[in-house]
Symmetry: C2
Subunit: 145 residues, 2 copies
């Protein structure tokens, strides 16, 4: 990683050209997405109260993470924040970028009046999230369709 400060900010349409979608290939299957679809996603997502944050260093995207805000019928209608799709570029790992992204999303969850923020991760990533202030709450179960 270059030596500049880490800027955490909301993703915007110009991040498409900066390779935002390409970052996700370090996490999972992430084929290129047309700019129009990317822009529509960011707009629709922010309208639900959530956000997509990116970590920028010297004009390059070094990480990203998403907060999904879920409205509820329980807890008097207070929402839950779901942290999703956290990636830090392999060239920038171990330098606090991931922790800065998670802490920023937890703050966004507070601002959105969420009563909790949760995420699912693999067993070997629990130590990282523990250092970000999250605790083990349960088991994630799933089925691929």
């Amino acid at each position: 990683m270059t030596g500049g400060p880490v800027l955490i900010r909301d993703a915007c349409p110009t991040d498409h050209a900066l390779g935002h979608i390409g970052l996700y290939t370090q996490l999972t299957d992430a084929p290129p997405m047309p700019l129009e679809q990317y822009t529509a996603f960011l707009k629709a997502h922010s309208e639900t109260g959530g956000c997509v944050l990116v970590a920028e260093v010297d004009g390059q995207l070094m990480g990203c993470a998403t907060l999904l805000v879920e409205q509820k019928l329980i807890h008097g209608g207070r929402p839950v924040g779901h942290i999703e799709d956290v990636v830090v570029d392999q060239a920038a790992r171990g330098q606090g970028v991931g922790k800065a992204l998670i802490e920023a999303l937890v703050q966004r969850g507070k601002k959105a009046k969420c009563y909790k923020v949760i995420l699912d991760c693999s067993e070997h990533n629990t130590g990282f999230y523990d250092r970000c202030g999250l605790e083990r709450k349960g088991v994630c179960m799933g089925v691929y369709l």
Copy 2:
């Protein structure tokens, strides 16, 4: 439970008077919610492609469960289904109501083109979800705000 068949259907505004919110008190903190807020939730939720299903037996609500459909930037924009807030009335447990709800939500996830359906649960509920066809995928971490 009375002996009639189990009808799984989408929740609708009249379920407010049938005690839908009251069912959640068997799961967590769920204070009464005004009808207007309940109706607005159902409308907004269905507009995102998700659903709230209820299980009705002889005109009474015996269970409910929610599918949240999350759009993604990964996987070519295919969504993920999140199963949330599963409750079966204590008078109706062990009679297949929960399994019917989960299976219906997985089918709704398929219909919404989700590439997977996931949920978070406590360790002691993993056996139930395993019998519904879901597998252990990871750890849920969280922080209360």
